[in-house]
Symmetry: C2
Subunit: 157 residues, 2 copies
């Protein structure tokens, strides 16, 4: 009766999209390293020595989740974690040689996987795909941190 068509619900579509990606990642990229884990490795390739919170910010993971992901990567020997001598609250992170090696290997496979994943779309459609998703995500993200009235938003925070 009052049932709704889920194919017009962005949340439902987002979930399905992620599932589809998870699947392809698992078969084409790696069964050990997950996509969020790769994102963390990638962030540390770009900026070695980053602290835990900032890495989370870069890849879009909250404090609890990033702690778990980093703990797994540490157990696998892909990164090292040391207390910042300058600021005893921070943990500084750095990839091991093995971590660098894994990142390099997965970078290649990930590129291949992305091609397969996006194959149903033309070049322009792919650009549009990125753009639309990013705009929606950014806008929703913006609703989260309501702009404090009167506060200048310049660079950050």
């Amino acid at each position: 009766m009052a049932a709704v068509d889920l194919s017009t619900h962005p949340g439902h579509l987002a979930r399905r999209l992620q599932q589809a990606h998870y699947l392809l990642w698992n078969t084409m990229v790696s069964e050990e390293i997950t996509s969020p884990q790769f994102a963390v490795l990638n962030a540390l390739v770009a900026e070695p020595g980053l602290d835990q919170r900032t890495v989370g910010e870069r890849v879009g993971l909250d404090r609890s989740t990033i702690a778990e992901v980093i703990s797994r990567l540490g157990r696998r020997g892909l990164l090292d974690k040391v207390r910042d001598p300058q600021d005893g609250r921070r943990s500084l992170l750095r990839l091991t040689d093995e971590g660098l090696r894994v990142h390099r290997k997965l970078t290649v496979r990930t590129a291949r996987m992305n091609q397969v994943f996006l194959a149903p779309l033309s070049g322009e459609e792919q650009t549009l795909f990125f753009d639309l998703i990013q705009r929606v995500s950014d806008a929703a993200e913006g609703l989260r941190n309501p702009v404090t009235p009167g506060e200048p938003i310049a660079g950050h925070r």
Copy 2:
């Protein structure tokens, strides 16, 4: 050095999109009932008496996950689960009055949330957004179930 730009990685974008949606759902729709739970309620409004596996198929959840979701909805008294007398393997599901009531209430709120979520896109862009995501998801889903031999494959591969 060899770091990659995650904003061109559909998996990363999909994850961010889902996070953004999760957030908005939590604040605008419900803190108790999640989006997947609503999808299950919705499937049972459309087709009461469905068995567990089929519900999972309708909403895109595997056998393990659908079992958990249904168990939670049962605990909350939103649906009833009975063994099929015709086929002792199946569990047949049906919403309770409370389940119907909750579905009705959330349907309204969900519609409002979707509007807010998609507000950054124009009407045509929204249509495109749905279409692109669906095509990518469907294609990836297709890779999973290898087409039975002899079957002509529309797209390619």
